[in-house]
Amino acid sequence: METLLTPAFVTALLFGAVTAGVPLLLAGLGEQVSEKAGVLNIGIEGMMLAGAYAGFVAAYYSGSFLAGFVAGGLGGAGVAALMALFCVRLGMNQIVIGIALTLGAEGLTALLHHFQFSRSYPRLDAAPALALPGLAEIPIVGPALFSHHWLVYLAVLLVPLLAWVFRRTHLGLNLEAAGQMPAALDAAGIGVLATRTFAVLATGFLAGMGGAYMANVGAGLFVPFMTGGAGFMGIVLAMLARGRPSWVLVGSIVFGLSLSLTTAFQVAGVNVPTDVVQMLPFLMVMLMLVLFARHSGLPPALGLPYVRGSR
């Protein structure tokens, strides 16, 4: 064990945790917006994947990471628009549509990727890192936490921003009411469907950015099915966080660390079967659910389509 805990290993572990955690953070925050408004967004895995693909393609052809993230967000929002159409506007079952969208996005991105690149997996250049002056020089922790792509800092800043939106703005109240008591929101003169549509699109955009980060920064390439359950982990994070963005951050650190540990173990050549190591993050998910999800505090109207005048 002593041979493992070298400064270099710890730095790599933490760096990896951030890289793995940021997509989870974005997905978890996005899912939180959706769930707050009463839409259980199972399609988020598909939105991440669509974002990863769109983001990669945009970055690959334009050479711009910014363009990649914007395209990723739009790709995710595109899938989310379908979710909003079917589940919010037409009131169809959110679970069924969510699963369909995830499966559809998996198939479609794999197919498009195959047509475009055949069996090759072109790589992007390494993403430029923005080292925060001063902080990045701290030994061990500095290079691990404060020398990342700017999207990482943006994602972290999103946490207080969302907390502020939830507590201090009309949008926050509207989202909360749409999930807790949609008829009250309607009676107050705000469209429930409009509020929920906005929430679902925002979720798609954030999840898509998370996917694009995974492809463009995390891996530097797109591989079909590359999100590997990150969207579902985001759902778990949102569920455990009970409407608080800060808890999504905590959760994504924990999950990010366990994902990073998986990679680190493999790199360090620890003599444990790969399959067991790869199970680690999912064991963590189950453990967290068993420990903390007894009272999930989910909104009462979650998963229920809203129809004016019916109760």
Partner: protein, 522 residues
Amino acid sequence: MGKAPVLSLRGVTKRFPGVIANDNISLDFRAGEIHVLLGENGAGKSTLIGVLAGMQQPDAGEILSHGRAVRIGSPRESLGLGIGTVFQHVLLVPSLTVLENLMLGRGRASRLDRAGTLRRFHDLSQALAVSLDPEAKLGALSLGQQQQVEIMRALWRGEGVLILDEPTSMLTPQGVRELGEVMRRLRGQGVAVIFITHKLREAYEFGDRISVLRLGRLVGQLGPERLSAMNQEQATDEVIRLMFGSPSGHQGEAETLAGRGIRRRAGIIDRSGEAILRARDLSTVAETGECPLREVGFDLWPGEVLGIAGVDGNGQKHLAEVLAGQRMAAQGSIRLGGVEIGGTDVGARRRMGLRYITDERLGEGTVQPFSVATNLVMKEIGVAGLWRHGVSLWGRIHGHARERIREFDIRTPSERTPVGRLSGGNIQKVLLARELGSAARVVIFNKPTYGLDLQNTKLARDRIREGADAGLATVLISTELDELIELADRIGVMFQGRLAGIIDNREGVEQRIGLLMTGAAA
């Protein structure tokens, strides 16, 4: 009243599949007047409110605001016309504070204006003479207080029209008095108040003008001049005459409507023998948003009706479920005919003669897509005679259903019709037919007439009385005091999970119950 109306309906018609909810209704609402819309369940009051509040679109007719034709396509447009609505069921968000609820809907994405909202909150608190904590979570307030928040919200922008849809149904007598004061204050300030109720007494007490609806039609109106010239009795008779033409053919319905609280149970209960149902020290554990039972106990003798009064949400549901066996008590004992049944399940209790008629006729009482016949045997699936070796004998099940349909006068096209297609009154008859079989000894009714029209209310009450006369021991949980006074021998009051003072149903019982409902006297 020479004043021009602030809001008018002209020939408003609204159809739903199979019914005309509003048939060519024309009404005028004036500033500084409390206008009562009176009618029984299903008369079309709520649809009319839905039209004014922008929740429903009329099929024909027009709405005039200050003499100008308007279209109210959404709740927002209704608010924009200065119409504030307080719906029958509280439409506020329980997880938000009072202040946050009042800010809801006043913007889309902008920052919340707490200071300005607080100022308006204090102004309105003063105008309405109510005191509320603006930072309290709404879910922690009593229903009466929640309603005050609703009224504030409805008047927020200085709305000139306030609609109150059955506002007294969730209130204690004290809460009703306070609401009356608030309404009179608003009338003094020139607000046009539209007050919807199915209770004649309230209509007379609060109304300057009473419009009577029946089966979707406006059947008559009593203006302020005529109302002030009449005493309560005359006004009541006049409204009954409007509703039924000649009252003679509808005596029972008219009395039910008038809520005159006639005591029909004159029988003397023999309490010398052993009580058939003894509950002692019953307590339950509540989930969030529910009220648990706290050490509830009572005795019930054969042929007796024990009324349980109280504002909804004070533990009545838990009491009914614990007695029926659908919920286990955390402590306490229930003895039926001397046998402890606290640990037994629903089936065992049913076989011992205990029956439960739930207030949730659709969710809990019946399976809507299943046929009337299936619903009639729902609690006896597998019983010998209708099943053999687990195989349904449909001929016998349908035969059994036809008997029941005849006996209880269930209006259904056939025994195979899905129960969800029947009216509320007929679904209640299906439940009564299922539960009030020959072997019943103790029956628990939870709000048996809730949401029923007058005719079915009367029928259900008659059934309860007949059952008791035939020796059934009955627990009657109701939020309608008139109903309890009509049917019960003794009345207890549920308040915050406790059953306070079971008292004999005699003259003057209303006042004592009113006090007990607010927890003022134990």
